[in-house]
């Protein structure tokens, strides 16, 4: 069990079937019903929106990273003008927020956070994981990034600059991790399978090829 330092409502305990609804369950229902009755939106709108949220996942970011690893022209465009590069792949980045891609190298390692709330590059990764939104991560990664990365199994020598990027405005930051060794000859699909969500936030490296 995690050692919570205060009495958190536990995000890790799903509401069980048949359990009595909590005040929050009732509040969500009350607000949703009233907004629909007032025609602020429709029940269909809501259903469609629920489906939309589920449609973006880290697999999307992984495809973009794999393409950048395979195609130097695309990589250059991704770093210079990510919105155009990604729209070229069919993603609807929308008017805002703006996407910025941060390249990790042998000497520079970016890691992304939103200390003020939970801003995250959802357009390519979907919704953020619980840990990214937690006060533990938001509090500590800016002051002790090496300690936090160690918890994720990531060790970096002092020769590598760790650059923590705090998403305080409308920019959304995605890490382009380095292509792992031993991946020569792999196609984009094989490469994408090595790209985890966590390596696009910067707390880990991509997976190494199995063989």
């Amino acid at each position: 069990m995690a050692d919570h330092h205060d009495h958190d409502h536990d995000d890790h305990a799903p509401i069980e079937e048949g359990k009595a609804p909590t005040e929050f369950d009732l509040l969500e229902q009350a607000i949703r019903e009233l907004l629909i009755e007032k025609e602020i939106f429709s029940a269909d709108d809501l259903r469609r929106q629920v489906d939309k949220t589920d449609s973006v996942s880290p697999a999307d970011g992984a495809k973009v990273v794999a393409k950048a690893w395979s195609d130097p022209e695309f990589k250059a465009q991704l770093l210079a003008d990510p919105k155009t590069a990604i729209e070229g792949l069919g993603y609807d980045v929308g008017p805002a927020p703006n996407l910025v891609v941060l390249e990790n190298t042998a000497t520079l390692h970016h890691v992304v956070v939103c200390t003020l709330c939970s801003c995250y590059p959802r357009v390519l990764l979907g919704p953020p994981p619980d840990w990214y939104k937690s006060k533990q991560y938001r509090g500590r990664v800016v002051i002790d990034p090496r300690g936090v990365l160690n918890e994720f199994g990531t060790q970096l020598s002092d020769a590598v600059e760790i650059k923590v990027v705090d998403s305080t405005a409308d920019m959304r930051y995605l890490v382009l991790p380095p292509r792992p060794a031993g991946t020569e000859g792999m196609n984009e699909e094989q490469l994408a399978a090595l790209v985890t969500r966590d390596c696009m936030v910067g707390v880990t490296f991509p997976d190494s090829p199995v063989n």
């Binding site: 020769a159 590598v160 760790i162 650059k163 923590v164 920019m171």
Partner: protein, 94 residues
């Protein structure tokens, strides 16, 4: 666009704790940094938060700080940095 600061310029984040919705993190207020990127101009979130239109747009910068300039007892590497997007009205030339 009328950005006052240039990439590479040294800046100092203002001190202060005004009321309202502020997107300049406490841990960076009063700290010295360097302009890394000029993002362009955006509506002021401090006003948008209260239903105002946030105009005129204000220049927004990615500002880079040495961790040892931010935390007195920073235990990582001397070259480690932290960056944040900060609005021009929160910055002074250093």
């Amino acid at each position: 666009m009328s950005a006052s600061f240039k990439v590479g310029q040294r800046v100092l984040v203002k001190e202060g704790d005004p009321p309202g919705h502020i997107r300049t993190p406490f841990f960076l207020r009063g700290k010295p940094g360097t302009i890394e990127t000029i993002h362009g101009e955006f509506r002021n979130p401090e006003e948008l938060a209260y239903g105002k239109d946030g105009l005129p747009k204000k220049p927004l910068y990615l500002v880079r700080f040495l961790q040892k300039d931010v935390w007195p007892d920073y235990g990582g590497a001397p070259s480690d940095t932290v960056c944040a997007d900060i609005y021009e009205h929160w910055l002074d030339a250093d």
